[in-house]
């Protein structure tokens, strides 16, 4: 139990997908102008990462490993992820059309969000069991959502600040992202994954 908790904290905070592994940076910069959009993106990605990781674990264990088809790993994982994203897209379009409009191109782009494939590949590398893999994927995506929301909050405040003209827009956002990453370094040491 304690190991599980430590593993989850490690996945969410210490080895954060965005700030420690630098995965999923396109959505990190793209949809963090407003907190509600960022939270919506966080939920969507959390769902996709968790579901596709579970499916990927099953495919890896019962298909690829069992029949020695390791070379097909990337192709099959992408196939699974793409299906999960399609499903999420349909659901969001049905449930919240305005969120669908706001996420725009970034929603189908979850397919190519490296965080999703990254997490799937990490849990294969880590040779985790099913429960452990699911927990790891969920914790990682919660970490992703957390950073998305924090960063969106920062950018909302940043929009009100007196930023020198040369730094206005993405440059200052990257500077702030760097500072946020440094702040998250403070978590290293409380747990290791």
């Amino acid at each position: 139990m304690k190991e599980f908790a430590l593993m989850m904290i490690g996945a969410a905070l210490v080895n954060n997908v965005i700030l420690a592994r630098f995965l999923g940076l396109c959505s990190f910069m793209g949809v963090t102008t407003r907190v509600d959009t960022a939270a919506g993106m966080g939920f969507a990605t959390t769902f996709v990462i968790t579901v596709s990781s579970m499916a990927d674990w099953a495919v890896q264990t019962y298909l690829l490993e069992a029949y020695g088809l390791g070379f097909l790993r990337t192709v099959t994982f992408i196939l699974v992820i793409a299906s999960a994203v399609q499903f999420t897209e349909m659901t969001i379009k049905k449930v919240s059309p305005s969120l669908f409009q706001m996420l725009g191109i970034y929603l189908p782009l979850i397919t190519t969000n490296c965080a999703v494939l990254g997490v799937a590949l990490l849990l294969v590398e880590g040779k985790m069991g099913f429960l452990e893999a699911t927990m790891f994927a969920f914790a990682s995506s919660v970490g992703y959502s957390l950073v998305m929301v924090i960063f969106a909050g920062l950018r909302e405040r940043l929009a009100l600040a007196h930023v020198p003209r040369l730094f206005a827009g993405p440059p200052i956002a990257f500077v702030v992202a760097g500072m946020l990453a440094m702040a998250f370094m403070g978590f290293s040491g409380i747990a290791t994954s």
Binding site: A159, L160, A161, H162
Partner: protein
């Protein structure tokens, strides 16, 4: 009122600016000699502009009705001098934009002959409705600056069963002393007016709030109110903006007016001391509101003081009367905190004009604004408990809805935040800008909705017309065929044939 009360009961909001009221407040009241020409604007009040009922060339007496009220919230306008109507034209409005508005010009005959008046001997025997009606006919509006028609407020107070009348003698704005002067020179008028207003709204007590920096006014009012125990004189700490409705109500009664409610809904009604005096004159003497006390103050004025002047007098005439030491660097109508900056002095005084300030260069100096350092002084000063720095930051980047979420609409534009701001950010201008833009957006939305209804009505009408035309055409065709069939019974087989073909 112990010594400790000053600390324990002192409000935590607001600011305490240098009041600059003396020596102007101590100078005796001067009577302005009848001006040669007055310009009487048609909208000197909140609500619909008055409608002129006089013709050019017509002779009018002082106090004669020259424009009548139009709509539910409006006030009539009366001639402030006797003379001849010379024009119904436009004059620059006392407004920061310097845009013109409609006004009636009267050439004075210099005699100031009053029209025959119809005083009410015993107002307390008359019905409250009668008192309200007479106040409305006399054109009495709130003289503290809001210029809301008083009779409308009386009716509101009567309907909501207001128990307490608060008479606002706060006059917290620096430089101004017109209310101070009216309480010192005409305390009986103020007290009597307050009692008439109490009768009109059915209130059982009147609390007269006077800032404690006006001891002479407090003494004079105490003396005048002595025979009437229901009129209570209550000195309040001198603190800007004590003269604002919500702050004065809270200080005197401890009740807080909710954000989206009016004062009457917590059982109080606020009237200015000058308004009470105007009600007294309207009822006891039958005199409509045509004159008022105006403070003339500021570094550029040679003999600062208060002047009793007819409405519609040009500000340039008033300034010439008190004399100018130098050309004023800035002219303000009202107080320095909330007053209206004027672009020039060819502007008439209106009912709500409590003072004209002519500032010299040192007083008019405005330091350049710097960036916000988030010191939070403005949040401490704000009497409404708002966050001026957050609202201004959002307005600066154009996020007006964001500012609205921080309760921008509760801002009373008192200027405390801008006064304490160490970076001299023009916070009030940000808020005025945003409020104006939001009001315009709201108006545009209403307009769009109205035109949308019109467009839908037109579409529906055209559809109906087309349908009716088609129906009429079908009916005519049927009639024609019936007539044809009746006219040619011999040709029945042919008709049958055509019917069969069309079937």
């Amino acid at each position: 009122m112990g010594f400790l009360d000053r600390f324990l009961k002192a409000p935590s909001w607001g600011v305490h600016p240098e009041d600059h009221k003396r020596p102007a407040a101590d100078a005796p009241l001067r009577l302005f000699p009848s001006p040669e020409r007055v310009f009487m604007p048609l909208s000197q009040h909140v609500g619909g502009a008055a409608r002129p009922i006089v013709l050019v060339g017509q002779k009018v007496l002082k106090g004669q009705l020259i424009a009548e009220a139009q709509g539910n919230i409006s006030a009539p306008i009366h001639a402030p001098v006797s003379g001849t109507i010379s024009a119904v034209g436009e004059v620059t409005a006392p407004h920061p934009s310097g845009l013109p508005f409609k006004a009636i010009t009267i050439e004075s005959d210099g005699q100031d002959r009053w029209i025959e008046t119809d005083p009410l001997a015993d107002p307390f025997a008359a019905t409250p409705e009668e008192v309200a009606r007479r106040s409305a006919l006399a054109g009495v509006v709130g003289l503290g600056g809001a210029t809301f028609p008083s009779a409308v407020k009386f009716a509101l107070g009567k309907r909501l069963k207001v128990g307490t009348l608060i008479v606002n003698g706060g006059e917290c704005e620096p430089y101004l002393s017109s209310d101070d002067r009216i309480m010192r020179d005409f305390p009986e008028q103020v007290v009597d007016g307050a009692r008439i207003v109490m009768h009109a709204i059915g209130a059982s007590e009147a609390l007269v709030g006077i800032e404690d920096n006006k001891p002479e006014a407090i003494a004079a009012m105490r003396k005048a109110a002595e025979p009437y125990p229901e009129v209570k004189i209550r000195p309040v700490p001198a603190r800007y903006p004590m003269g604002s409705d919500k702050q004065l109500i809270q200080t005197l009664t401890g009740k807080e007016v909710p954000s989206d409610a009016r004062a009457a809904e917590v059982g109080v009604l606020v009237h200015n001391v000058s308004t009470c005096a105007a009600v007294h004159k309207a009822i006891r003497l039958g005199h409509p509101l045509v004159e008022r006390i105006v403070t003339l103050n500021g570094g550029a004025i040679a003999t600062p003081g208060n002047v009793y002047a007819p409405l519609g007098t040009m500000i340039s005439d008033l300034l010439a009367f008190v004399g100018l030491k130098e050309a004023p660097s800035r002219l303000i109508l009202g107080g320095p905190m909330m007053g209206t900056p004027l672009l020039h002095d060819r502007i008439p005084i209106v009912k709500g004009a409590s003072g004209i300030l002519a500032f010299d260069a040192a007083e008019a100096f405005v330091p350049e604004a710097g960036p916000c350092i988030r010191c939070g002084n403005c949040t401490k000063a704000c009497p409404m408990g708002l966050l001026p720095l957050e609202m201004a930051a959002r307005i600066r980047v154009g996020d007006l809805e964001g500012a609205e979420a921080y309760a921008l609409q509760d801002c009373i534009s008192c200027g405390c935040c801008a006064y304490v701001c160490p970076s001299h950010i023009p916070l009030v201008q940000y808020f005025s800008h945003a409020k104006g833009e939001l009001t315009n957006a709201e108006r545009t939305k209403l307009r769009t909705d109205a035109t949308k209804r019109l467009a839908e009505a037109k579409t529906a009408r055209i559809e109906r017309e087309n349908r009716e035309k088609a129906e009429a055409a079908a009916r005519r065709k049927a009639e024609r065929e019936a007539a044809k069939a009746a006219a040619a019974p011999a040709a029945t087989p042919v008709a049958e044939q055509t019917q069969g073909a069309s079937a």
